[in-house]
Symmetry: C2
Subunit: 336 residues, 2 copies
């Protein structure tokens, strides 16, 4: 028996029932008025600036309906937008969900999607405040996240100076390897396979970003979403500087010893793989001693230095210098 597709209002009710923060909870404090009116009302804290970011998450471009489980789609659409808040050194407060989907997906798919979204919302302390829904042949998602940071404390892309040291958190290329594994794998994978975990359920580095902003250790910062090569170029362009990376220092994904992964080069994944949502930041020389080797279990690795000359040079393992090729993800060049 075919169920009657839901109306827009009843889909809103479903979203609300799944994701509304508990009244009185710390998460709901900053929301004066949530879903159900023309707009949401947010109470800004005094002496804080509001951080605003929005992110597309589109079927066929950013995820595949047959490959990506709906709860991963729900988790990731919020996590990747929250990563932009982390990259400014801020704290996520609330989000707006714009969701377009086929009427046929308003049952089980939507329920599982909302379960993933609810997990991310709770884990990241970011409450649903509003949104917009409509019908569409494919799943289209846009998430706006609102965060806050002490006035004057936001860490920008533009603060890097020649002589600063370049750091990354985590190990790069893990998400890209996970994506390839998902696509190569013939049989369905366990829901929490460690190889695909980072691609499906990325964890934005909120605590690390906030710590780097509070301590003012980082002179510049951004998150790595399109790959180190593309994103470091953006940071250098914003700061009007260049950089020199040492290939052997770059922390990279380990490639499993399996025929499936033959020919996959971990340094290529680390330089150009997308979706890692690690933090890329720079530290002035006088503050270098204050950077620990890891933060809450996440390794922090020095990978190079900022240079006055506006080019990005990679010192290869053999000792040869070459210009770093920019080959991170650009939606106007390629698709997943």
């Amino acid at each position: 028996m075919k169920r009657k597709p839901l109306t827009e209002d009843s889909i809103l009710k479903k979203i609300l029932a799944s994701c509304r923060p508990q009244p009185g909870s710390s998460m709901s404090k900053s929301i004066a008025l949530g879903i159900g009116d023309d707009a949401a009302l947010f109470r800004p804290k005094i002496r804080e600036e509001t951080i605003l970011t929005c992110d597309w998450f589109l079927e066929g471009t950013h995820f595949l309906r047959d490959t990506h489980p709906p709860d991963s789609v729900g988790w990731k659409c919020l996590a990747r937008a929250v990563s932009d808040i982390a990259a400014m050194g801020g704290t996520p407060r609330c989000f707006l969900l714009s969701l377009a989907l086929p009427a046929s997906l308003t049952g089980r798919w939507l329920d599982t999607f909302l379960a993933g979204l609810r997990s991310a919302s709770r884990e990241l302390g970011c409450a649903l405040a509003g949104g917009d829904t409509t019908r569409r042949g494919e799943v289209l998602i846009n998430v706006t996240v609102v965060g806050e940071v002490k006035a004057g404390h936001a860490v920008l892309r533009s603060g890097a100076r020649a002589g600063d040291f370049v750091y990354v958190s985590g190990r790069l290329g893990e998400a890209e390897l996970g994506l390839r594994f998902l696509k190569l794998s013939k049989k369905p994978l366990k829901p929490r396979n460690p190889l695909t975990q980072k691609h499906l359920y990325p964890e934005p580095r909120v605590a690390l970003g906030r710590w780097l902003s509070d301590t003012r250790l980082a002179s510049s910062m951004m998150d790595i979403s399109d790959g180190l090569s593309s994103d470091l170029r953006r940071l250098c362009a914003a700061s009007r500087v260049g950089a020199r990376l040492e290939m052997e220092r770059i922390p990279r994904v380990g490639i499993p010893d399996d025929a499936l992964f033959q020919g996959i080069d971990s340094i290529r994944l680390a330089l150009h793989g997308g979706d890692d949502y690690e933090l890329l930041f720079t530290v002035p020389p006088r503050r270098l001693d204050l950077v620990p080797g890891s933060f809450q279990g996440v390794p922090l690795t020095l990978i190079g230095t900022i240079t006055k000359k506006r080019e990005i040079v990679l010192l290869e393992d053999g000792g040869r210098n070459r210009q770093l090729v920019i080959a991170g993800w650009d939606p106007f060049r390629e698709r997943i």
Copy 2:
């Protein structure tokens, strides 16, 4: 000769060049940091709450690429989201633009779209603060608008009480008539044809909304985006009340005396037509004398009363009462 499609970064630059507010202008004051970093920074005013809203504007669902000129798409995607700010009694401050489009439209189409967007941004005092772009086969737009309202002054949907009077601004059904004219018309129309003006370039009632909030005249308010019948039902549901409308009082679009429009019923357009972006609000009886017949040239019309009984009754011109049929636009029921 086929031009090389732009990269994501160069599209961002194009958007920025077209829409960046002048530094030092009143529009740019609340934006501490605009496009070009991981996120935008907004400086909230003290003793104000932040209003947040987002709106889909999708090719094939909300507009048609062949029918709607790109500058109208640019104008309207912002204007309709700003209308939600007006509906709360707030002042728009800034917006985020999420834009997905085919590489083939990154030339002239994008330029004209941005010109329309820039006009709306300037006229509505709402500055571009950030966004996200990607490639897609169809044009997908999502706009997030940030507004502000004095703390405690936002006018909600939930404030209507039995005995309040129901008002609307403007004349209803004009946008729907414009859409029908656009679709019926065989030849290309003049860019500023008065019949299509309201459908293509709607003007959100920001000054009126703010005045109703400042004076505390309105006990409840929302904008009419899906049609009076659907939207009044939402207001009544939020306020847990009903309403009684008098059909003869409803200010409605005039139908031109032309064979093209034969059979089109102005009251149906006024009750169920979408996209008007007029304000629907309620006024307590003791404040009735303070409501003028028009505000800045926009008529304000009393169309009925709020009732305790939770049903919406329409008193027809002949004097017969009937339940109002809810037949406004619902994307899960129909498409344009």
